[in-house]
């Protein structure tokens, strides 16, 4: 439903912080591409677990879609498979970006979480674009799970499947603080 909200402002005096808006959890990925399905898998597990009023949104990670998905949110939590350096598959990463300290948000995600293989124009671009347009949520938390196998048609690899419970716990903990 966020797609039908009012249009962007024509001008703004600086980064616009969405007010006491909704909470949204965005699962990024393709469940037909091995560990890229971690985001959708978490989203599926969250259904029924989150309090009323928390939106669950599936996303392909394309920047404009991400901007729409977190439009008007005071807290946005993005769950995505990542490839970050030499971390083992299943390793969890958490990056929090606030509008006040967001100057290097895109780089932060790029360096400490990385982007999963098929999202060339992905989360880092979305955060960078949101910063320029003043469309970052007040709080943006990125939960990355290190992927090991992005083969088309494969399910989650064992290390990633085994870490989903911990990732779920970490996401829910962020809803409560």
């Amino acid at each position: 439903m966020h797609l039908l909200r009012d249009s962007f402002p024509d001008t703004a005096d600086g980064p616009r912080v969405s007010g006491a808006g909704r909470t949204v959890i965005i699962g990024v990925g393709n469940d037909f591409r091995g560990d890229d399905g971690a985001g959708p898998a978490v989203l599926a597990r969250l259904a029924g677990l989150v309090p009323p009023g928390v939106d669950l949104v599936a996303s392909d990670g394309e920047p404009a879609n991400l901007l729409e998905a977190w439009d008007g949110a005071s807290l946005a939590i993005v769950v995505d498979a990542v490839q970050a350096g030499s971390a083992p598959a299943g390793a969890l990463h958490r990056v929090e970006i606030t509008s006040l300290g967001a100057a290097s948000g895109a780089e932060l995600v790029g360096e400490s979480a990385g982007l999963s293989g098929s999202h060339q124009l992905g989360l880092g671009s979305a955060i960078g674009l949101a910063q320029v347009l003043g469309r970052l949520p007040a709080r943006l938390i990125v939960h990355g799970i290190q992927g090991g196998d992005f083969t088309l048609g494969a399910g989650l690899s064992n290390p990633v499947a085994g870490a989903i419970d911990d990732l779920l716990t970490a996401v829910i903990a962020d809803l409560q603080c």
Binding site: T11, S59, A106, G117, L152
Partner: protein, 433 residues
């Protein structure tokens, strides 16, 4: 003067292309010797994955091939299934399908025009940098994209991998009032779309005229989107069922993707916005036709750099079509028509934002898929892109390495290659020897 040296000019990721792949350019002295677009991973996986599945599954499964054009995959899939089963869907369901597809065109084209392609013309490395100087313009693009997504959410249930689509129609059809909420969004979007045409028409376009055969769908009486027969600029006309008689796919050494060519035609062919416009300009909606004329597009368009103008015109067309469909809409008696399985083969084609997307399925009498074939537009355009790049690079060899690389990337983006449909990773590598 020819001189020999071993040198790698650049090895960089090709940004702002959906998905990734690899382009390799080899130059010897003052001659471009070879241009190869490496495509590693066509949707052959999906063809194999579909075998043994139910005839009702292709729309949902193939929608996962591409996050940018799921409706195109769904549409060609259900058309093929319905053709195999001897069912033709008309009336309000067909109109809803066209409306849904208009949403995808608007969203996909707006993304490409504003976030991927325009930065090239304005001299920015990407959309973020462009947005710093042109915030209102980028926001206009995002509004347009959102209007397209709003259609897909309303008809398809959601914009990413729409879930309301099935063989035979929809799981549920909107009411008149359910659609009327879109009208205001689309009327506002029309203003943005017309402004977009004026904006991109003012860009500077390098001179380049392509002589490819053009291939597009034809839906006499309307601009081709969600179905049609196939026509070419050379005068060929054939149906989806005859596609594989006319379009030959061949293995080439440097790629696991197949190169497409027209049977009996020695040259390359091109599908996508340039071909659609060139073969169907007379069927543009009134506002789109007027916008095209004002933008200086003639009866045909063969400069790939001007594809951004054609896309902008097609956004106008899709919005005008969408408004027209909504105003005339009467809900169907049932959201879908029965499609009983039967043994046989079915073929489906539709105009994905990037060009003609073909699918074929073979079924047994229970509707189990025995074989599947998917030919996406980017695979069809691969040979044409390589040929164009060779022509494009040759007179630009005096440019320094960075600038030549940048211009090559721009030239590739002209085709809006959705390489995630056809491949995975793309790096650009130029070797001068």
């Amino acid at each position: 003067m020819t001189h020999r040296r071993e040198r790698t000019l650049a090895a960089v990721g090709l940004a702002r292309v959906e998905g990734e792949g690899a382009l390799h350019v080899r130059v010897s002295g003052d001659q471009v010797e070879d241009v190869r677009l490496d495509i590693y991973e066509p949707p052959r996986f999906f063809e194999a994955f579909l075998r043994g599945r139910s005839y009702r599954e292709p729309p949902d499964i193939t929608s996962r091939v591409c996050g940018i054009c799921p409706v195109a995959y769904q549409t060609s899939a259900f058309l093929a299934v319905e053709a195999a089963c001897g069912v033709q869907v008309d009336g309000p369901i067909a109109q809803l399908r066209r409306l849904l597809y208009c949403g995808e065109w608007i969203a996909s084209h707006a993304l490409h025009i504003y976030l991927l392609h325009a930065p090239d013309f304005l001299g920015y490395p990407g959309a973020i940098e462009m947005a710093r100087d042109h915030r209102a313009i980028v926001e206009r693009g995002l509004r347009l994209r959102r209007a397209g997504n709003a259609i897909m959410e309303t008809i398809g249930g959601r914009a990413v991998h729409p879930v309301n689509i099935q063989v035979g129609g929809f799981y549920s059809a909107p009411t008149r009032s359910g659609l009327s909420g879109l009208t205001g969004i689309l009327r506002a979007a029309m203003e943005d779309a017309l402004e977009t045409v004026r904006w991109v028409a003012g860009f500077e376009f390098p001179e380049l005229t392509l002589e490819h055969e053009m291939l597009a769908l034809s839906q006499p009486g309307s601009y081709p989107i969600e179905r049609g027969t196939i026509v070419t600029s050379g005068g060929l006309a054939f149906t989806a069922a005859e596609f594989e008689d006319h379009v030959i796919e061949e293995q080439v050494p440097h790629s696991t993707a197949l190169h497409a060519r027209l049977s009996g035609h020695p040259g390359t062919y091109l599908t996508g916005p340039l071909a659609r416009y060139t073969l169907n300009a007379r069927w543009l909606s009134p506002a789109a036709a007027a916008a095209a004329a004002a933008a200086g597009l003639g009866e045909s368009c063969r400069n790939p750099f001007r594809s951004i103008v054609v896309r902008a015109v097609e956004v106008v067309c899709a919005i005008e079509e969408a408004i027209s469909i909504i105003e005339a809409y009467e809900p169907p008696a049932a959201a879908s028509v029965p499609v009983p399985p039967r043994a046989g083969t079915g073929h489906g084609v539709s105009e994905a934002p990037r060009g003609v997307l073909y699918q074929r399925y073979d079924f047994d009498s229970a509707g189990t898929i025995l074989g599947a074939r998917i030919v996406p537009p980017t695979s069809q355009n691969q040979a044409a892109i390589e040929r164009d790049l060779r022509l494009f690079i040759q007179p630009r060899l005096e440019l320094d390495d960075d600038e030549l690389t940048r211009q090559c990337e721009q030239a590739i983006r002209n085709y809006d290659p959705c390489i995630s449909c056809a491949t995975h990773f793309l790096t650009l590598r130029m070797d001068r020897a």
